[in-house]
């Protein structure tokens, strides 16, 4: 049986993408936890609240990443877009909170 290059590569690209999502979700969770610690240590209420929201969203991101890992052959691109919006929102919220905690 001859295996074409497209067939041989099937699944691996999806798997690589899932691993990339997991790496990103884990990094995001780690950073949000550090920001949470910063907010608690500094006694900044807004930074702590923003970090708590971000940690919740990062956990959701991590859950989705691991959940869709077992189903790499059925890609739901709508989930991809939702995850993108979540991760961009987390970074924006945290960076803005960090900047404002210095300015205010």
């Amino acid at each position: 049986m001859t295996i074409l290059s497209g067939d041989r590569d099937f699944g691996l690209q999806a798997e690589r993408t899932q691993f990339a999502w997991q790496r990103t979700a884990l990094s995001t969770l780690a950073l949000t936890l550090i920001i949470l610690r910063t907010g608690v240590a500094r006694g900044s209420v807004w930074l702590t609240i923003t970090a708590l929201v971000s940690v919740t969203m990062a956990l959701q991101l991590l859950f989705i990443s691991y959940h869709s890992r077992s189903d790499v052959q059925h890609i739901d691109l709508a989930v991809f877009k939702f995850r993108k919006a979540v991760v961009v929102l987390i970074i924006s919220l945290d960076t803005m909170a960090l900047v404002l905690s210095h300015i205010i």
């Binding site: 910063t38 052959q73 991760v87 961009v88 970074i91």
Partner: protein, 155 residues
């Protein structure tokens, strides 16, 4: 050996897979005349277009690479804020923290916009645009590193 992959279309345009092939030309023409020209790019899969999933996933990983770059900037900002208290005078440290944090936010949004534009270009079979932000990113990094070195040596 044939292996299939299921790509779900969005709920706004639940196109029958049999009909989708017939509508590719129409969707492509619409994308070229409206979304791309007006700059309001929408991913091709939202319109039920058939896009090679390998390109879509490669675009996905490129977006994630931008996001991880943004996360690295954010980590740098937090690190300078929390760990490097003796690095430089407080005013310069605050400046670095704010610049790195804002860069992280800008990079995250740029990654999202670029993913959308690339997805649309792939759908329409057009050339991908060059990321011009790289010049500013590299220049800013070089300037910040040199300035930080000068401040550290001067102390």
């Amino acid at each position: 050996m044939t292996v299939g992959i299921t790509i779900k279309a969005c709920t706004h345009c639940s196109i029958n897979p049999i009909e989708s092939a017939r509508k590719i030309k129409l969707n492509r023409a619409r994308a070229e005349t409206s979304s791309l020209i007006s700059g309001r790019a929408r991913p091709g899969w939202e319109c039920g277009k058939l896009v090679d999933y390998r390109f879509t996933l490669a675009n996905e990983r490129t977006f994630l690479a931008w996001i991880r770059t943004a996360l690295a900037f954010m980590a740098g900002g937090i690190g300078i804020d929390q760990l490097a208290t003796d690095l430089a005078p407080p005013q310069y440290r605050f400046f670095l923290v704010i610049v790195m944090s804002l860069t992280a936010a800008i990079l995250a949004w740029y990654g999202y916009l670029r993913w959308t534009a690339n997805e649309n270009a792939i759908s329409a079979n057009l050339a991908l645009s060059h990321p011009r932000i790289l010049v500013w990113l590299s220049s800013g990094l070089v300037l910040c590193i040199l300035a930080t070195l000068m401040v550290m040596v001067a102390r």
